[in-house]
């Protein structure tokens, strides 16, 4: 696993997906709020995190149902006006989750839909990243998924760095980790001494 320590990858795997248990599973009752005993019955439909679902699916113990935000209705919305759809609300890891599900999902069109989706939204996003005011957090940021936010911020940071380089040059500054408090103390100290 080339990205074993990647925090976003770990959190993406924490997204819940619905699975259908093909066999009885001992001792997993706690995963199923509807279950009244320690076990999950064969045939039960349960929401479990992706990291667990993925493994159980590869072992053919469960089958995965695609989350509703990859369904036909959302695809139509994307087709109508890609950049207005609030994907971030459906799932912060809309693309990464989809990419992970694509190989094990029964729907062969998922991958190409994800590509279509990003292509539709990318241009508008990049355009805004270069033009909106640098200090405010614009409203449309809420519509973006986590992956898109990262792209957006990368584009915005590059504008910021460019301006910094062009107009004032990189400055030496104290290490941010020291916070602001110490500075005030240091400024006051000479007065305390007298």
């Amino acid at each position: 696993m080339a990205n074993y320590y990647d925090l976003d990858d770990i959190l993406m795997e924490e997204e819940y997906v619905t699975v259908h248990f093909k066999f009885e599973a001992k001792g997993l009752g706690v995963l199923d709020p509807g279950s009244e005993h320690d076990d999950i019955e064969a045939g039960a439909v349960v929401d479990i995190p992706l990291w667990l679902a993925h493994d159980l699916c590869l072992r053919k113990f469960v089958s995965i149902k695609l989350p509703s935000f990859y369904n036909e209705r959302i695809r139509k919305e994307i087709q109508a006006d890609a950049s207005c759809v609030d994907l971030g609300r459906y799932c912060p890891y809309f693309y990464e989750l989809g990419l992970r599900l694509a190989p094990i999902s029964p729907d062969p069109t998922l991958g190409s839909f994800l590509l279509y989706c990003l292509q539709g939204r990318y241009k508008d996003m990049l355009c805004k990243a270069h033009t909106v005011a640098l200090t405010t957090a614009p409203k449309f940021l809420n519509l973006l998924t986590r992956e898109e936010t990262q792209l957006f911020e990368a584009a915005r940071d590059s504008v910021k760095s460019y301006n910094k380089w062009r107009f004032q040059g990189a400055r030496l500054e104290r290490a941010a980790v020291l916070g602001r408090k110490r500075r005030l103390n240091a400024l006051l100290s000479p007065f305390e001494l007298t």
């Binding site: 696993m1 080339a2 990205n3 074993y4 320590y5």
Partner: protein, 243 residues
């Protein structure tokens, strides 16, 4: 001084005091300007800048250019000695300031180059140790550093986390000794990432995948955004540079 080095041709180890432009160009920053149109003889600093830029942009660690670093360091030392000597003779503060600036900029390149390499080593230390080709790309001092770094890293993981886990799960290379055959926890650079590059010569048609479905016509001085993996051999042979 390495006589074979390009710097010998430039006379980069002395400061021609009567010619500001020449002095400033002695270690290279003006070379790229006055080199335009004429036959380009790259000074060591220009070479270092290219090596530095490639290192900054490539996802994997690149071969260490030991002789170049050594030449640049010797030049910096000479420059510093000369500045020292001239400081008492010349009263021209502006000139001195320019010389110092030149040295400082070269030193910045050097430091930044070595820092970029350390940061790559720290990102994928085990991957580098495990891979002979990558290991050979490090300087002797970098190899020593990598070993020490791995030791400190392993000890920290061991004492903080791994010792607390059941024995079959206590490796920092394998997720578990129960199932996985290979070391499945080692992080690696993403070689399939896109990079911006400039072609240094007319390379012509270049194949971007094994099947031959995708190819690109590389023209002199044109810019391209391509996947790193297929073009890494071109970088090795200096046919392209990353930007």
């Amino acid at each position: 001084m390495d006589d074979a080095g390009p710097s010998a041709r430039r006379g980069g180890n002395s400061i021609p005091v009567d010619d500001a432009t020449g002095a400033y160009g002695a270690s290279g920053f003006v070379d790229s300007l006055d080199g335009l149109g004429t036959e380009e003889v790259a000074s060591d600093v220009v070479l270092l800048r290219r090596v530095w830029q490639n290192e900054k942009c490539a996802p994997e660690i690149l071969p260490y250019d030991a002789s170049l670093v050594e030449r640049v360091r010797e030049q910096v030392q000479l420059m510093e000695e000369n500045i020292e000597a001239f400081a008492t003779e010349i009263k021209d503060d502006l000139m001195l300031s320019l010389y110092r600036m030149d040295v400082n900029r070269t030193l910045f390149l050097l430091r930044s180059y070595l820092r970029a390499r350390l940061s790559k080593i720290e990102r994928h230390p085990i991957h580098i140790i495990d891979n002979q080709e990558l290991w050979d790309r490090l300087s002797e001092q970098e190899q020593e550093y990598t070993n020490k770094y791995c030791e400190v890293l392993a000890k920290h993981f061991e004492q903080t986390v791994l010792i607390r886990l059941p024995e079959q799960y206590g490796s920092m290379l394998k997720q578990t000794s129960l199932a996985s055959e290979e070391n499945d926890m080692i992080t690696q650079p993403q070689l399939n990432t896109f990079v911006c590059c400039r072609s240094r010569g007319a390379i012509g048609s270049f194949q971007l995948d094994d099947k031959g479905d995708e190819s690109v016509d590389l023209m002199t001085n044109d810019l391209y955004i391509l996947r790193y993996k297929p073009i890494r051999r071109l970088l090795e042979t200096d046919q392209i540079e990353l930007i």
